[in-house]
């Protein structure tokens, strides 16, 4: 009986022959590690890039979005648990190897491909091969991930990735352990790696009532964020809706999200958004220059995933000329 150790993520699963890792998609077959969902996405959709959420990366564009089943985390609040917590033989899949994926994305005229919905780091080999093929074809690659992976494979993947949305579940290791069966530290390292390697990064944080809505803890996250990632990385606070094993909790109150946004702005983060909720300014992008005379008027005005107005001129504020961080074309 040959047992294998998977070295992809910090769980270092020891997989018995015939079994799978904690992610349900990495198998030990005859002593070899098999990526069981390579070329087999269960989901494929064309979404607005704002849905990821990415607000500073090709705004208003469409993104070809795919996922296979499987995830190396098990969040009690997972919105896509029907596919993230499934085995490969439990959900129908498309036969979409990387060359075919790129061909379809190009034919649909989407400038980028997103690896999303579940955990693209769990279906790592497929994500990597698609990214490499897409990059060669002139398409951009977007990761939507929880960032729970070891540094070495992440560095290899980021070399072919253009942008990432990383969901920080909480600035609290106990939350990761109890709610997600993971840990915080590797996620923070992944965030730093994105900045170090020049991958456009936006961070999301789903605020769940009573579980991770402590403003002191959010303040600590923001302080770390400014110090280690810089003030120009956008931060999205997302509204929780009851899902999966957390159906007993109410949706996040709007005031909680607005308070968190104020905390982040006070900490010095330039671009702080509120998602899954219609708010006054929480979806709009403003000039980061506090002295800009036109600062009260949004540079990019959004309603949901739609752009109402984009006043950016070559990535700069048209009123004062200050550059706004992002990938605008």
């Amino acid at each position: 009986m040959l047992e294998l150790e998977c070295q992809l993520c910090p769980k270092y699963c020891r997989i018995p022959e015939g079994g799978s890792g904690d992610c349900r998609i990495r198998f030990n077959i005859d002593g070899k590690l098999i990526a069981g969902t390579w070329g087999l996405p269960c989901s494929a959709h064309i979404d607005p890039i704002e849905k990821k959420p990415l607000f500073h990366f090709l705004p208003g564009s469409q993104v070809f979005s795919i996922a296979t089943v499987g995830c190396n985390m098990h969040c009690a609040n997972c919105q896509n648990h029907e596919i993230s917590q499934a085995y490969p033989d439990e959900v129908d899949a498309y036969a979409l190897e990387p060359a075919r994926l790129v061909e379809v994305a190009a034919r649909e005229s989407t400038p980028s491909i997103a690896y999303t919905y579940t955990e693209p780091l769990a279906y790592y080999e497929y994500t990597h091969d698609c990214c490499a093929r897409a990059k060669d074809a002139g398409l951009r690659n977007v990761l939507v991930t929880a960032g729970f992976i070891n540094e070495k494979p992440m560095r290899r993947l980021l070399a072919v990735v253009h942008a990432a949305t990383i969901d920080v579940k909480a600035f609290n290791d106990a939350f990761y352990r109890d709610n997600c069966q993971a840990s915080l530290k590797p996620v923070l390292r992944t965030l730093e790696l994105c900045v170090e390697m020049g991958v456009w990064l936006e961070v999301s944080n789903l605020i769940i009532p009573t579980m991770n809505d402590d403003m002191a803890e959010i303040g600590k996250l923001c302080a770390w964020f400014v110090k280690r990632l810089g003030p120009s990385v956008p931060l999205h606070f997302l509204r929780f809706h009851p899902h999966h094993r957390l159906r007993n909790l109410p949706p996040t109150p709007g005031e909680t999200l607005e308070t968190a946004r104020d905390v982040a702005l006070d900490a010095g983060i330039h671009h702080v958004y509120v998602g899954n909720l219609r708010t006054g300014d929480g979806e709009n992008t403003f000039c980061p220059n506090r002295d800009c005379t036109g600062r009260s008027r949004p540079l990019i005005e959004r309603v949901g995933y739609r752009i109402i107005e984009n006043r950016l001129a070559n990535g700069r504020c048209p009123d004062c000329g200050t550059p706004v961080s992002g990938v605008w074309s």
Binding site: C6, Q7, L8, G18, R26, F27, I29, D30, K32, L33, I34, A35, G36, T37, W38, G39, L40, S43, A44, H45, I46, K51, K52, F64, A67, Q79, N80, I83, Y87, P88, D89, E90, D92, A93, Y94, A95, L96, E97, V104, R107, E108, T116, Y117, Y124, E125, Y126, H128, D129, V144, P153, R156, T165
Partner: protein, 49 residues
Amino acid sequence: MIARRAFLRLLALLALARPSSAKAKPAEPGVRIKPLSLSALRRPHKLAG
């Protein structure tokens, strides 16, 4: 469980495994394949992210 065992058997038969740092080939026979409808790609859906 039967389906999962069958899936694993098919993966084994394909014997296309490589180490985790390398790519693996698809195991199409072990998974139910659905056709890709281009017209369905842009339809609204409920998945988050």
